[in-house]
């Protein structure tokens, strides 16, 4: 179905493109262009200003509008009707992605007209335009995605400060980054990725196109879940595997690793994969809803042999944990094959330490969430983790027992592998806590 027949897009057009706005926007932009064309502002020309306006309006303001379009559905109580509509997930994704920020696109399109009229057309200007477009769409998709994910953490009857917060955080993190696309600020030189030497602007364009693809796919998948489709976390796993492959580009093809200097390329690549898994796992542990009724259902389905349905209900943190365990096992084998024995043992113990601490921390977070009232469970878990990762090691260092700090810091295991045993004890205590809380849950 074409965009112009998409009900969600048309609804946004009705809402956003009012006659007053349609008239006022070109007038305001025209005034800005007139001022810039008459006055030299810090040697900025019209192409730079028009591209800056495009990025500011489309990428940044558009991301806010996209996020607002979803948050308004929640506050106005219209989302349930949308979920019951006959629109498919892709139709809804496209309608939200293009419709939510449609007014920003209108302003952006006017800016692009100025850009097109004042810039000599060549591959560099086209590349800049494509990069800016891809960044804008990526940010819109991420803003919508963060709003949808933030909803899941809270009852839908409440307001949406958290989802708004997620979008604002997104803008703060990514906002300043997008301005490097302005003319003259493009990255120079080549990027050495695997065996290829790729010009930095082309590499950047490829990266933002990939980001656009994954952000849109992520939004589509979350939208499917909202519209009651049953999907296993396959797309999420595929995204992590993509990151593994992408991240490997800086370790192979005759490059020297700057992050894991002591390890060979294969081990360094796998260590990066483990790092990706850990970041993803901790992020999901705190961002996903830990609904123990759903977990109980998952266990019941698994026991009943309904494995495919159980896989559909599997939370992403659990799927990521399984992947993390696989990465650690591969890393250990790779180290034992490719690294000198002592270094291999030290590296393997360090990786195992990270995995054990992931189990410990997951048990802590879940144990605290195994309660009738889960509203403060995640923040309590965060406080406990600060104590375990910062205050306790700090205390040992302060009283001169630096060697004990390794018990709470997996990277230090590289020099003190035997401390792994004490980590196992911590994991056992955390698991015991979680299991006891699970058993105390009401029937």
């Amino acid at each position: 179905m074409s965009l112009l027949r998409n009900p969600e897009f048309l609804r946004h057009v009705w809402l956003e493109l009012t006659p007053q706005r349609l008239l006022a926007t070109p007038l305001i932009l025209g005034l800005i262009v007139l001022i810039v064309s008459q006055v030299e502002i810090a040697s900025l020309g019209l192409p730079t200003v028009s591209m800056g306006l495009f990025v500011g309006m489309t990428a940044l303001w558009g991301a806010k509008l996209a996020s607002d379009s979803l948050n308004n559905e929640l506050t106005q109580g219209t989302w349930d009707n949308q979920r019951l509509s006959g629109m498919g997930a892709w139709q809804m994704t496209l309608g939200k992605l293009a419709g939510g920020p449609v007014f920003a696109w209108y302003g952006g399109a006017l800016s692009l007209v100025v850009f097109a009229l004042t810039t000599p057309w060549n591959w560099a200007s086209l590349r800049m335009l494509l990069t800016a477009l891809a960044v804008a769409i990526s940010l819109h998709a991420l803003a919508l995605l963060s709003a949808l994910l933030a909803w899941r953490k809270q009852p839908r009857s409440t307001a949406t400060p958290r989802s708004r917060g997620a979008s604002i955080l997104l803008l703060i993190v990514f906002g300043p980054q997008v301005f490097f696309m302005l003319p003259g600020d493009e990255p120079a030189g080549n990027v050495h990725w695997y065996a290829w030497h790729i010009p930095a602007p082309e590499f950047l364009l490829a990266c933002v196109l990939l980001a656009m693809f994954w952000a849109t796919l992520g939004l589509y998948r979350v939208m499917r879940e909202e519209l009651s489709f049953r999907d296993p976390p396959n797309a999420w796993i595929a995204f992590l595997l993509f990151l593994f492959v992408f991240g490997g580009g800086w370790f192979h093809g005759g490059q020297t690793s700057r992050i894991f200097e002591d390890l060979g390329p294969v081990a360094a690549h796998l260590a990066t994969c483990l790092l990706i898994c850990l970041v993803a796992n901790y992020g999901l542990l705190f961002s996903e809803r830990k609904d123990w009724v759903r977990m109980r259902r998952l266990v019941a389905l698994w026991r009943d042999g309904q494995r495919s349905r159980a896989w559909e209900l599997t939370p992403k943190w659990l799927a990521t944990f399984a992947l993390s365990a696989g990465v650690v096992a591969t890393f250990v084998v790779a180290c034992l094959i490719t690294e000198p024995p002592m270094r291999a043992i030290a590296a393997a113990c360090t990786a195992a330490g990270f995995l054990l601490f992931l189990v410990r921390d997951a048990a802590l977070v879940l144990g605290l969430n195994f309660a009738r009232d889960q509203s403060r469970a995640d923040s309590a878990a965060a406080v406990y983790l600060v104590v375990l990762y910062a205050l306790l090691p700090g205390l040992f260092v302060a009283i001169g027992l630096q060697f004990l700090a390794a018990v709470f810091w997996p990277p230090l295991l590289f020099a003190q592998p035997p401390w792994l045993i004490l980590m196992v004890v911590q994991v056992a205590v955390a698991l015991d806590f979680a299991i006891k809380r699970w058993r105390k849950l009401p029937a």
Binding site: R11, D80, Q82, R83, L84, G86
Partner: protein, 311 residues
């Protein structure tokens, strides 16, 4: 048409639906009643496929809602208790959007928008913004949105709240008309007197369980569910003893030595026989009145009975 089997829904720490089972015939209107927190909204959301239960099954028009929720959505219209409208859109745009998002389009949709707006009495408000409508008009617009695609099942959560008496009468008429067109409706409401006007069945929920499911039309046809009030000119200790065999098992006999009130499950011939037997036994019956048991009475008795109390 709508069937639920052993439906269980749990919130962390609370079982909202506990082995709920029922079967509702096509072209019926079922009143879904129960105290606050009984699980009515949760049940409606599960039937609509908006929330997935822990276990059990739901079927609408032969479609397994839990397995194929999107297919089921095509047959469902749903009005939530806290319904939402796009305040900045006009009434016409709201209805056009609702129709388009359910696959309607073209001139047929334009005609349908006018038709449904006329049905709901908001045709003169088509060009007004939804946000400028009164509470009752907004409610009618929300109902119009829910039926614009002619669903075969309509789920309404507190549809009459906020409506003035005239609008409520109009709503009752609309329900009856939709039913006559073949639609199956479930209406959750606390206003039992209005439900009585158009409902063909009643489903009573209490603490997540179905405590009563009765077909009101069938009951009327069989002459069941009538409340009998009886008074003697002089007290008699035999009154309770003589009435006991004739009282419906569903409700207890409320009687002393001079007056009695009870639900009578027989027809007119049985009632005549009862009166003759009382007179033959020498009881000085001076007053006998027959009342159709109201939905409210039936509901209160079901709830009291489930609590183990006596009405």
């Amino acid at each position: 048409m709508i069937g639920a089997g052993e439906l269980v829904y749990e919130y962390p720490g609370k079982r909202a639906l506990d082995s709920v089972s029922f079967l509702l015939p096509a072209a019926s209107i079922t009143a879904l009643v129960g105290p606050n927190g009984a699980g009515k909204t949760t049940l409606l959301r599960c039937i609509a496929g908006l929330d997935e239960p822990y276990s059990g099954s739901i079927e609408i028009a032969g479609i397994d809602v839990l397995r194929h929720p999107r297919e089921a959505h095509r047959h469902i219209g749903y009005l939530p208790d806290h319904f939402g409208l796009y305040a900045e859109l006009s009434t016409r745009q709201c209805l056009l959007h609702a129709g388009r998002s359910r696959g309607l389009g073209g001139e047929a949709l334009d005609a349908r928008v006018v038709e449904v707006a006329t049905q709901l009495g908001i045709v003169d408000k088509l060009d007004d913004k939804a946000g400028s409508l009164s509470r009752g008009q907004r409610q009618r617009l929300a109902i119009a949105q829910a039926i614009v695609h002619r669903p075969s099942v309509l789920l309404l959560d507190e549809p009459a709240s906020g409506l003035d008496p005239e609008s409520r009468a109009g709503l009752s008429e609309l329900m009856r008309r939709l039913r006559s067109e073949g639609m199956t409706l479930i209406v959750s409401s606390h206003i039992l007197a209005e439900l009585e006007e158009y409902c063909t069945g009643m489903l009573v929920l209490q603490q997540g369980r179905v405590v009563e499911h009765r077909l009101l039309e069938q009951q009327t046809a069989q002459g069941t569910g009538r409340m009998i009030r009886l008074r003697l000119a002089q007290a008699s200790t035999r009154l309770r003893e003589l009435l006991a065999p004739h009282v419906s098992a569903r409700t207890p006999l409320d009687a002393d030595t001079q007056k009695a009130s009870f639900e009578f499950s027989g027809g007119d011939d049985e009632l005549s026989a009862l009166l003759q037997s009382l007179l033959a036994a020498g009881l000085p019956v001076c007053e006998l009145s027959v009342e159709q048991a109201s939905l409210q009475d039936a509901y209160l008795r079901a709830v009291e009975h489930d609590r183990g109390g006596v009405s």
